[in-house]
Symmetry: C2
Subunit: 106 residues, 2 copies
DNA sequence: TACATGCGCTACATTATATGTAGCGTCAAG
DNA sequence: CTTGACGCTACATATAATGTAGCGCATGTA
């Protein structure tokens, strides 16, 4: 069972709920996105994420580490093996967003 | 170009940024998830989302409508055609979360 | 030795966001 | 003419994110 100690409202502990809860916090998805092409240092990541405050960035990184989605190694923060698979979903979102932009521009 | 009037920090207007920004607000992903098996009324949706406050629910629904991801018809709130494709990503997240739960439980 | 640079943060006051509770106006059924 | 479900809105309170400053550590350079 995933670590629920970082979750907010949902109390069922269902993995999908824990996941949606985590991804639904500001900057979490963005951080996942910015890690897509390799490891990033803290400051590097901060810059890529529109200069998010270090407080928030650190909170998110801690949560993602606790969930074993990312890891902190030599070279910086990067996906774990499992996290990589989640990161690939970001690509799918990117593709969807491209079609979305096309269809909404009329 | 997607409607950016609801977005927060990111100012590039890149579709993926607008999308990540929207999905990164609390309850947005959860609402998408709860709409996966058909239309839901406002109150029904509220109940499914751990009794989220009507204020917040209404804000999120408005944003999702503005983005043409969901629609409000007879029968309740539901995905648009394009929104359905995004909704399918929720399934992928669910599948990932199941593998995640397995691998983290040791 | 001293100084600069990049690293990962922490502290803290301010501002933005979400919550919880109450209740309004509309409609359709009994 | 009341009851229930509908989609909300108002507003005070609580929680989360922001912006700025700066710390301790390591590595490099003069």
């Amino acid at each position: 069972m995933p670590d629920r100690s970082i979750t907010r409202g949902s109390t069922t502990g269902r993995p999908i709920m824990v996941l949606l809860d985590a991804l639904g916090k500001r900057w979490t998805l963005r951080i996942m996105w910015e890690l897509r092409d390799g490891p990033q240092t803290f400051r590097n990541l901060q810059e890529r994420c529109d200069d998010v405050s270090p407080t928030t960035l650190n909170n998110r990184l801690r949560e993602l580490r606790k969930m074993a989605i990312i890891d902190h190694r030599e070279g910086g923060y990067c996906y774990t093996a499992l996290g990589t698979e989640l990161g690939e979903q970001m690509i799918a979102l990117d593709q969807w967003s491209a079609r979305w932009a096309d269809s909404v521009k009329d």
